[in-house]
């Protein structure tokens, strides 16, 4: 049967036709994804220089092996050392992780009941509801973040409303703080959490809950013992989909955060565009990547397992 298959051949070596199919995306990824990473690493080991491009290369690929080894001993770890001596960067890393973690937990707490409510709706309504819930993801990220400025500002809509209603008598003062950044992340990344959660809940066999009810379990008990454990994979996937990009987020801290909101994406951006310190920015990118290697690997694992389960 396999011999008739137009695209698949058995065995581990791809056929020439398979190679042809894979060649273009593979080459593209090597040139535009893998090679750039090698470059970031290289430049992070270079010295900062006042020129264009603003770094003095230490490694040159045209060197022969002996001079390469010689040069390797001269590699500059200055940028990395600078990072760890620079309290701005250390504080940025810590505060990025803390802000992203808080936002991820809040997103999960908000998204879970929402996903559950959609998954428990009538089968006819479900696709429409989940479609409506993730539709904002298609609209501009920048605009959605911008929309919150008008709401959260001291003279903005929320404070205005709450003062008029009489709940508070002074503006909330949350704009340009870390709280505003957390709100922005929760709002912007909600669809990323919602979709894997919904998929994990909706896939469950309804008979399991009926059996639990027949055996005398309360709905709450059945939820804790059946629905929640069975959706664990959705919880992990959704949390990683929010946490990983949130750690490196630039737009949200820049627009909603204050001048004292330190997040690594923003610090890196400023070092790159404002201070024009490319080696430090590259070293910062490498450290950020190392920071995210753990979560990224877990995410890849979940993805590959999912994929295997489907095929």
């Amino acid at each position: 049967m396999d011999a008739k298959d137009p695209l698949q051949r058995t065995g581990k070596t791809p056929t020439s036709r398979n190679r042809l199919v894979i060649a273009m995306p593979y080459a593209w990824l090597i040139i535009f994804f893998l090679a750039p990473f090698a470059l970031v690493l290289k430049i992070s080991l270079s010295q900062s220089a006042l020129s264009l491009p603003p770094y003095a290369p230490v490694l040159d690929w045209s060197d022969d092996i002996r001079s390469l080894i010689e040069k390797l001993s001269m590699l500059s770890f200055e940028s990395f050392a600078g990072l760890f001596n620079d309290s701005l960067y250390i504080e940025s890393y810590i505060s990025s992780v803390v802000i992203a973690a808080i936002a991820t937990i809040l997103t999960l707490l908000l998204a879970y009941p929402f996903a559950l409510a959609i998954a428990r709706s009538s089968p006819k309504a479900r696709p429409i509801l989940i479609g409506l819930a993730i539709a904002p993801f298609w609209t501009s990220f920048l605009i959605r973040v911008y929309a919150w400025i008008a709401i959260l500002k001291d003279e903005g809509l929320l404070s205005h409303f709450l003062i008029n209603v009489g709940v508070i008598d002074a503006p909330l003062g949350i704009f340009a703080t870390n709280s505003a950044v957390v709100i922005g992340i929760v709002y912007s990344y909600l669809p990323f959490m919602l979709l894997p959660l919904y998929a994990a809940i909706e896939n469950q066999e309804p008979a399991l809950l009926e059996a639990a009810a027949d055996l005398g379990a309360s709905p709450w008990h059945a939820f804790l013992r059946i629905t929640l454990p069975l959706s664990a994979r959705g919880v992990i996937a959704g949390s990683l989909l929010v946490f990983i990009p949130a750690v490196g987020e630039f737009v949200i801290p820049d627009l909603l955060g204050g001048s004292d909101t330190l997040m690594i994406g923003r610090t890196l951006w400023n070092d790159f565009f404002v201070n024009r310190d490319w080696p430090t920015a590259s070293a910062a990118a490498i450290v950020l990547l190392i920071l995210l290697v753990g979560p990224l690997l877990i995410y890849e694992r979940v993805q590959l397992q999912d994929e295997r389960a489907r095929t």
Binding site: N18, F114, Y146, A150, L296
Partner: protein, 260 residues
Amino acid sequence: MRAGANIVRAGMLTAGFAFLYGPIFLLVIFSFNASRLVTVWGGFSTRWYAALMQDAQLIASVRTSLLVAAVSALIATVNGTLAAIALVRFGRFRTRTIFAGAIYAPLVMPEVILGLSLLLLFVALGIERGFWTIVAAHATFTMCFVTVVVQSRLVGFDRALEEAAMDLGAGPARTFFAITLPLIRPAIVAGFLLAFTLSLDDLVIASFTAGPGSTTLPMRVYSQVRLGVSPEINAISTLMLAVVGLVLIAVAALARGRRN
């Protein structure tokens, strides 16, 4: 108990959708505000929309954005579809883990890292930054989204149809173009639209890879947003939302029509 559960569910849905759509609705409403103040309603007006039409720089950036989105989405769709076929159909080839890893990683990788690394590549190769560097960068980060969409369609695919075509004497290429491609077309179209909207929306990667003279719409909007909330930005935002909304409605209608 059943009725109680329904009330809780309805309440949860209402709260969830209010949170998701509230800010967007407020922004749209205030784009029609006659007053320049963003919190005070000064009557209905379309003056901010009229002002947009006079903004030549803005219109140029819309053109750039649309072109970048169209070209990069096209490249991403071809690459992403081929990658999906390789992942679903080729079994376990030797470097599959690296390949799959390189495909899934940009899905969650912080944009600043992708943008920075691509910029360094262009500088190292001595390529002048401009329209084509943004296209290449966007085609790279949107490709993985196409792959994921097409992949899920390929997995649920009835292989008997391909086998029947082969039995009837069609070659592998003919089978692919006559049977496989038409059957996965909805996913390819969806992948293209996803890549298109993602490209249209991107600020960070475009900022790193753009050169002078190739400013995209989000870059333009961002430089104005930094100065604060203004009715003009509300108006341009509303127009962008309307375009995306219309595309989504069209896609939903197409999907519905096909099913019936």
